[in-house]
């Protein structure tokens, strides 16, 4: 039952993506690339890029995209619902606890403990994405020098701009997209 599987996968993503922003990314990759054969790593990388360029959280964007690919519009609705349902229950429960007890020391403690784990997972997912960008595959190939040197150049430039001048990430995405098209059109060696 594909809809049930979609729902369950995105419930897990919604339930365990703690820390916002990119925390959902490793979980989404795990569910839709590793556990279920719904997207290839290349398609997943595309989804993350598209999600960055459009409004809305990565998890919701991915739920919609994967849902459509797997089960059409009903699939998108089921996946999105699965993604939001756990948050709905937990947020309101936490709000209730918060207004009763004024303070969430243990919850904060759990979050503090989770933060390094979440960072580790983002780092790992980021590395996979980087390999995908450099080699067109998610694992390091036998000949690691078979790099896409233009991609390495774009990455280095983007990373430098972000670290040095804290450029808006949207400009980095747009810039690297446009430059990549130029590289394609112009006959570089």
């Amino acid at each position: 039952m594909i809809f049930w599987q979609l729902f369950l996968s995105f419930v897990q993503i919604g339930l365990f993506s703690i820390g916002g922003g990119y925390a959902a990314m490793p979980l989404i990759q795990h569910q839709v690339v590793d556990v279920h054969p719904w997207l290839t790593m290349g398609q997943f990388a595309d989804v993350i890029a598209i999600a960055e360029m459009t409004p809305g959280p990565i998890a919701i964007n991915s739920a919609t995209f994967v849902g459509i690919q797997v089960g059409g519009l009903p699939g998108a609705l089921v996946a999105t619902l699965g993604c939001v349902a756990p948050a709905f229950v937990i947020v309101l429960t936490l709000a209730w606890v918060y207004y009763r007890c004024r303070g969430l020391t243990l919850v904060q403690g759990v979050l503090d403990g989770l933060r390094p784990a979440v960072v580790a997972m983002i780092a790992s997912a980021g590395l996979t994405l980087l390999l995908q960008a450099f080699y067109g595959q998610r694992e390091l190939p036998a000949d690691w020098t078979a790099l896409d040197w233009k991609a390495v150049l774009l990455f280095a430039a983007g990373f430098f701009l972000l670290r040095k001048w804290k450029v808006n990430p949207l400009w980095i995405l747009a810039g690297s997209g446009v430059l990549s098209v130029l590289f394609f059109l112009l006959p570089f060696p």
Binding site: L94, R115, L130, L154
Partner: protein
């Protein structure tokens, strides 16, 4: 909780839904961008929630699993108009990305075959990799700043577990959550005893 411009007997469902919908449709860059905009809208412009309470709601939104923007929307909806309000704002937050991504997804297969689009997307993936590398460096520095051994050990162990040993992510999250809880309880007891 009767803010200005708000009739206590008539809940402002329409304006609530519309406010969240427009914020969600126009905000690029995720939770940390939308939170200040929400504060401006609901605290300063509409006066439905006071400053301190909004800070509390923000903390809860960030402490809960799921997308921060959606969590914050649910909390604001609940505070202003109860459970129906929460359902309404959740819908308002989710609808724009749902519609936009549905349209893109329908054209994706056809677009992806075009070499220009493929080059564009390929370049954007490189851009995303740079953005995530930048975010990761910032996050790791944030952890190192605490000058405590435990978080660094957890970071290294979790990375190795996920990267090299393919340990299930949910297991890693549950385990590290328990470590965090134990650490908090232990330090709380030690602090109380001193």
């Amino acid at each position: 909780m009767t803010g200005r411009g708000m009739d206590p007997h008539k809940k402002p469902y329409g304006r609530l839904f519309w406010s969240v919908l427009t914020l969600s449709a126009c905000t690029f860059g995720g939770g940390f961008v939308i939170l200040p905009l929400m504060r401006k809208k609901f605290v300063q412009d509409l006066g439905w929630i006071d400053e301190q309470e909004m800070l509390d709601l923000t903390a809860i939104a960030q402490s809960s699993p799921g997308a921060i923007a959606v969590n914050a929307a649910i909390l604001v909806g609940y505070r202003v108009a109860g459970l129906p309000g929460a359902a309404l704002t959740a819908l308002g937050a989710v609808l724009p990305p749902l519609v936009i991504l549905s349209v893109i997804s329908l054209f994706y297969q056809a677009f992806r075959a075009n070499p220009l689009i493929a080059a564009l997307l390929g370049g954007m993936v490189v851009g995303v990799a740079a953005v995530i590398a930048d975010v990761t460096v910032t996050l790791i520095r944030g952890i190192l700043e605490h000058r405590r051994l435990l978080p660094v050990l957890v970071l290294i162990a979790a990375f190795a577990a996920v990267r090299f040993f393919q340990v299930n992510l949910l297991l890693v999250i549950l385990l590290c959550g328990c470590i965090g809880a134990a650490d908090t309880l232990y330090r709380g007891r030690k602090g109380a005893g001193a």
